[in-house]
Structure formats: C-alpha cells, structure tokens
C-alpha cells in the first residue's frame, strides 16, 4: 500500500475517533441510539474509495470507536462491528449500483437502517430477548432520520472541501495509471 493511501486511511480513522468523542456529548433519546457522526469520514470518501480501502476504514473506525468509548472488551464492540459491516456493505452496494441516481442522503439513510436492523436483531437473539422489539420502531425511525441528516452534512462537505477535491484527484490519477 502506498504511503499516500496509508496516510489517508489514518487521517480518516482519526477523524472517526474524533467524531466519536463528540458523539459522547450528545444525549440519546432512545437507549443504544447513536447519531453515527463517526460514519461521516466513510460517507465522504464513498464515491471514490476502493472497496478494500472502505473495508479497512470501517474496521479502523470500529476499533477506534471501541477505544474511545471504552467498549472494546464488551458486546457493544461486536454490535458495532456487525452494524458497521452491514452499513458499509449496503452503502457501497447501493452507491455502486445506483450511480448518479443515488444521493449520499439516500445511501446514508439506507446504511443507518441496515446497521440498526442488524443491531436490533443481535440484541433480540443474544442479549435482551424479544423485549428488544419494543424499542425497534423509534430506534429505526430516529436512526434513519439521523442517517439522512448525516448524508446532508457529508454532501455539503463533499461539495465544498478542497482537501477532498485533492484526495479525489489523487485517487482517480492512481486508478488511471
């Protein structure tokens, strides 16, 4: 892997860790609910990152989040790992299939939905039992709205960011070689 790509992955993973610290300050209207600010770095590079780099970034994000939140040694880490994997898989799939017809808002909302469905299913199966379904509707609705909101933020940053423009050029240049 080239130094440039290692640097980019490291920066994005560090940004995800930073957003995890910010997320800690935000109150949770529903238990286990997260806005998912740490997904912002994944969203902004979704249009041009290679799939394997997306997978590496997702893994680094989950580990960083676990470190920052102190959940690395708990079931929350596994929930986060499976939720993020599902979310990134769905987002990459829909973005690649949908192309120009899909916006970051829609992709982000779908990613949030996938992550939350997986986490509720795991919670029902392994931790809290069928009672977990009680929190499913508000969890899914608020999570999807938060996902769409993140998509708006990511879209706005993608349009204006000079750094992202430079990164996009570098990646496309590398792919063309």
């Amino acid at each position: 892997m080239k130094d440039d790509r290692i640097n980019t992955l490291a920066m994005l993973a560090a940004a995800a860790m930073f957003f995890s610290t910010l997320e800690y300050l935000i109150p949770k209207p529903v238990p286990f609910f997260r806005i998912g600010l740490a997904n912002l770095p994944i969203l902004v590079v979704l249009p041009f990152f290679r799939n394997r780099d997306m997978a590496a970034l997702a893994l680094l994000k989950v580990i960083g989040q676990g470190l920052i939140n102190g959940t690395l040694a708990s079931y929350v880490f596994l929930f986060s790992l499976f939720g993020t994997t599902a979310s990134v898989f769905v987002m990459v799939l829909f973005y690649r299939i949908g192309g120009r017809h899909v916006s970051l808002i829609g992709v982000s909302a779908l990613g949030a939905l996938a992550s939350n469905v997986v986490q509720i299913t795991l919670s029902v199966q392994f931790i809290f039992g069928p009672r977990s379904w009680v929190i499913a509707p508000p969890f899914l609705i608020i999570g999807t709205i938060a996902g769409a909101f993140l998509g708006v933020v990511a879209g706005s940053f993608s349009r204006d960011s000079q750094w992202l423009m430079r990164l996009r050029r570098e990646y496309r240049g590398e792919a063309a070689q």
């Binding site: 892997m1 130094d3 290692i6 490291a10 560090a14 800690y24 939140n69 040694a73 992202l164």
Partner: protein
C-alpha cells in the same frame, strides 16, 4: 510540533516505540478497571504523563466533557435518590454511570496523547496505519480549537489539509536520518526509561486485581 515541548529526559530515555507499546499494555488495565476512584486516579496520572510528553492539555475542556457526559446521564434516573435540587432527582446509578463513562473517554484521550509522539515508527503496514492514526488523532485534538462553530465545514477542511501536509512531511523526515525532528530522541530506551514505563504499566495491572 510536540517533540519540541517534550521533557528532554523523556526524549533521551524513552523511545517512541516503548512509549506506544506501554500505552497499548496499559489500555486493558484501564478499560477493565471497575473502581471509579481508581479510574479517576488513572485519568489524572495519564493527564500528567501527557503533559510530561509535551502535550498541551486544556483541563477546563476535559472537565466540561466529564461534566456534560455526567449531566446527560443524570437525565435518566437509576438507583437511589441522592439529592433533589429544583425537583430534578440526582440518582446514584446515573451519577456513577455518567462519571464512569466520562472518565473513560477523557482517560482514553489522555492515554493516547501520552503514548504517541511524532517519531513513532511501527514496522509493517498495519503498524504504520495504527501509528499514523493515533498521531493524527492527537493532532486533531490539539488543533480542534482552530475550528469555529460558525464555519465548521471550512475549519475541518483546513485542519485536514494541514494534517495531510504534515503526514507527508513525516514520511519525508522518516526517510532522512538525523533530521531535526528526530535529533536527540532515543532510538532505544535506557534501562531507567524502560523501568519507568514498566513500573507504570505494572502499577495499572496491580490496581486491576486489588
């Protein structure tokens, strides 16, 4: 850069690699610690170590993080009511959970700041990514005050642009031996330096089993 502000003793006696692995070895002992008093003491220790490692700590900011996390947890009552100011119950369970979580996040940031420095080089691609991730996180935490609320997007953009340039510079420095940024830093730890790091790590694990 952080290296200039580091205590010369640390630079001369403790290598960046030992410092990093010391931080990694301390991490589980901190995360598994369930005693809130010990955890608070660990946070203070990590903060002091971060200062000794040359990092600028804004104690007021971290206190406000701790207060905010605790406050939000108090909104969901749990356990015995300790006090009832202005009709808002302060419950023991919520207070403990809030403080515990707040101390966890502040402690993790302090530990990261204390154990990562600019001349850290971990072999292999995974090592490179991990080392640079922690270094970038430390830099973001140091530079976050440059981001203004009114223009968050452009502030973040400038920060990332600067960080990207600095990472490229780090790579260039790594290829040139005896560059200014590494001059005077220990490639290998001295016995005393290793003893200090070992003692701190051993102390954290001892506290876990008390």
């Amino acid at each position: 850069m952080s290296l200039r502000r580091q205590r010369p003793w640390m630079l001369r006696n403790i290598s960046a690699t030992l410092l990093f692995y010391g931080g990694i070895a301390t991490l589980p002992a901190f995360l598994f610690q369930s005693d809130i008093i010990i955890r608070a003491a660990q946070v203070v220790l990590f903060g002091v170590l971060a200062v000794f490692a040359g990092k600028r700590l804004q104690w007021a900011y971290f206190l406000s993080v701790l207060a905010t996390v605790t406050l939000f947890h108090l909104l969901v009552p749990s356990g015995a009511v300790l006090a009832d100011p202005l009709g808002v119950p302060i419950t023991a369970g919520a207070l403990r959970t809030g403080l515990y979580k707040g101390l966890t996040i502040v402690g993790m940031v302090f530990l990261s700041l204390a154990s990562v420095r600019a001349d850290l080089r971990i072999p292999g691609q995974v090592g490179a990514i991990l080392g640079k991730t922690f270094w970038s996180f430390e830099q973001i935490m140091e530079r976050r005050s440059t981001i203004e609320i009114r223009s968050i997007g452009s502030g973040v953009d400038r920060l990332l642009m600067g960080l990207s340039n600095d990472l490229t510079q780090l790579d260039a420095d790594a290829q040139v031996e005896d560059t200014q940024s590494r001059k005077g830093t220990a490639r290998r730890s001295s016995p005393v330096g290793a003893l200090v790091v070992g003692t701190i790590v051993a102390l954290q694990w001892t506290l876990l089993f008390l």
